[in-house]
């Protein structure tokens, strides 16, 4: 008995050690980026830092190219978030509530941006836009971002609609509410956590995207990750660490808000 309990204890301890090691592996590298973004030395400085400075954050906030990138990223992320919701929520509703010929094929089409590697989507859009002579980068970037974020919204709304009791809607209709009233007062409030989760996922994916943005950006319309990527290929400057840290902290703040309001588990409908 004691032996068995001892074995169980050892096993538990082993699990905890493995889990902690994995968490260290996940968080240590990025924590080092974070720490080094305060290092006063310039290019190619190595860990550990020799002091503390905020000058890299200052140079990020005073660099016109990086700021333009940030501004573009925010506009594109906001636009693709709104557009993804507008385009993806109605079909998700229809797909759960009705069955019709060709639904399977359309589902595959709607989820295909998740199956096709991001780089393929990027080069396909580049080839397509250049072959039809549509070279206006800003709209192209938004279209690209809506395409790669669409499936997240579509799927999370489907998961949420499948989960809830349809009789609530029927009750509303039989009590004399019109279908528009039912949609606005019953259905939408019930799926609002899914809408929040989908919107946040869209925003986060769009803010961090490189796979589509790298191919659709030009010298005027570029996102922050695209500028940072080309900077990173050219030099190893702590400004990159500072700017990407700001980007990451922004994402984490949004995720924390999701956790506090609708719960992060909602985002997990995206994982299955």
């Amino acid at each position: 008995m004691i032996n068995r309990r001892f074995a169980k204890g050892v096993r538990e301890a082993a699990f905890i050690i493995v889990v902690v090691l994995v968490l260290v592996f996940l968080y240590a590298p990025t924590s080092i980026t974070f720490i080094m973004s305060f290092d006063p030395r310039g290019y190619a400085a190595n860990f550990p830092p020799v002091g503390f400075t905020l000058k890299w954050y200052e140079s990020f906030l005073s660099d016109p190219t990086l700021l333009l990138g940030l501004r573009n990223s925010l506009i594109i992320a906001a636009a693709s978030m709104v557009l993804s919701l507008i385009v993806a929520v109605p079909p998700a509703y229809i797909f759960v509530r009705h069955s019709f010929a060709g639904k399977e094929v359309l589902t595959t089409l709607f989820l295909s941006p998740l199956i096709v590697p991001g780089i393929i989507a990027g080069v396909a859009l580049l080839t397509f836009f250049s072959s039809i002579g549509f070279l206006n980068s800003f709209p192209n970037l938004i279209i690209g971002h809506v395409i790669i974020t669409f499936p997240y919204v579509f799927r999370v709304v489907i998961a949420s609609l499948t989960g809830f009791d349809r009789s609530v809607e029927e009750a509303s209709l039989s009590l004399g509410a019109s279908w528009i009233q039912t949609l606005a007062n019953v259905t939408l409030p019930l799926i609002s956590p899914a809408l929040v989760a989908g919107a946040v996922m869209t925003f986060a994916v769009s803010m961090d995207d490189l796979s589509v943005s790298l191919f659709l950006s030009d010298t005027q319309s570029f996102t922050l990750p695209v500028v940072l990527f080309s900077l990173l290929r050219a030099m190893f400057s702590p400004v990159i660490a500072a700017a990407s840290t700001v980007l990451m902290v922004g994402t984490f703040v949004v995720i924390a808000v999701v956790e506090k309001t609708v719960g992060l588990d909602k985002l997990l409908a995206l994982y299955q």
């Binding site: 996940l26 993806a88 019709f100 295909s112 590697p117 997990l268």
Partner: protein, 297 residues
């Protein structure tokens, strides 16, 4: 009677319309701006390269297999192809081995605060952006980086990590790990708890239960997550561009260079077609195994 039938079909027609109309923007968006571009990408791979044309695409658009012949005949490109398969497979298996214990820990019955915290930390780590990660790996793996600093404490001479397959593999595993954990948790949670209880109550030890109940039942999930990680790894191009330093190339990073730096769309499209065929085959395998329609990024 006929009037009634007419009314009936109008109702049917209107119902059909209310189903189709909300779906239309999505069909247009993904049909015109996703499906057609992919088809046009595949077509471009069958045109020859003309140096002064837009994107290097032959303006006469004559069908040719020259790009595929060049791809198959060039030692450099077939090497890149095999490199891509090896790096993707090694990273997928490494990711699985690291993820499995964590997924097993998270999916065991019973709730605890620590489990919840571990779960949240893993989900959140998925949202660390690519630039932060790349910068981190440059700091970690550089010649006088953190890993070499730690190795020097135990008396190991400087190891060259950057521009090796290892650097790419570790960065890829770091990126796919949360996704593999979540996929595994999903498949482990589908195993009914009653099976564990039955196994234990019949006197099996927990290692016996693991080997004869849990492991076999999670096998489809294991294979599916290897395939999923494999497809993600195949598509990774930012990591090999930066950490491969032009010395270690993968199919996806070479595609990036062909499109962005060389502007040889036909040859880039050829490699993109190869990449697409391999990843779609793997995705097909996942769907068969899990019985679901999707994979996630």
């Amino acid at each position: 009677m006929s009037h009634d039938a007419g009314k009936n079909s109008t109702v049917k027609f209107r119902r059909r319309l209310t189903t189709i109309f909300p779906t239309l923007p999505a069909i247009l968006l993904l049909g015109v701006c996703f499906l057609i571009p992919i088809i046009s990408l595949l077509t471009v791979s069958f045109y020859s390269y003309v140096s002064n044309a837009v994107g290097g695409v032959d303006p006469s658009r004559r069908f040719t297999l020259i790009n595929y012949i060049e791809f198959l005949n060039s030692r450099a490109y077939t090497n890149i192809f095999w490199n891509t398969l090896t790096i993707s497979l090694i990273s997928a298996i490494a990711g699985l081995v690291i993820s499995y214990p964590v997924a097993y820990y998270l999916s065991r019955p019973g709730k605890s605060k620590i489990k919840r915290l571990v779960f949240l930390l893993i989900v959140v780590s998925f949202f660390m952006n690519a630039i932060v990660r790349l910068y981190a790996w440059l700091l970690m793996l550089g010649d006088s980086g953190v890993v070499n600093l730690m190795l020097s404490f135990v008396g190991i001479a400087e190891v060259r990590f950057l521009n090796t397959p290892f650097a790419i593999e570790i960065a890829i595993v770091h990126w796919t790990l949360p996704i593999i954990v979540m996929t595994l948790v999903g498949s482990l949670r589908n195993i009914p708890t009653s099976l564990y209880e039955a196994s234990t109550s019949l006197g099996a030890s927990s290692s016996h239960t693991f080997l004869h109940v849990t492991l076999p039942l999670s096998l489809p999930g294991i294979i599916a997550s290897i395939l999923l990680a494999f497809t993600l790894n195949m598509g990774a191009f930012i990591v090999p561009v930066v950490l491969g330093g032009g010395i270690v190339q993968m199919l996806a990073s070479q595609i990036f260079l062909e499109f962005v730096e060389v502007a040889n769309y036909p040859f880039g499209a050829t490699m993109a077609t190869v990449l697409l065929v391999v990843t779609l085959s793997a995705s097909y395998g996942i769907n068969k195994l899990l019985g679901t329609k999707v994979t996630i990024k």
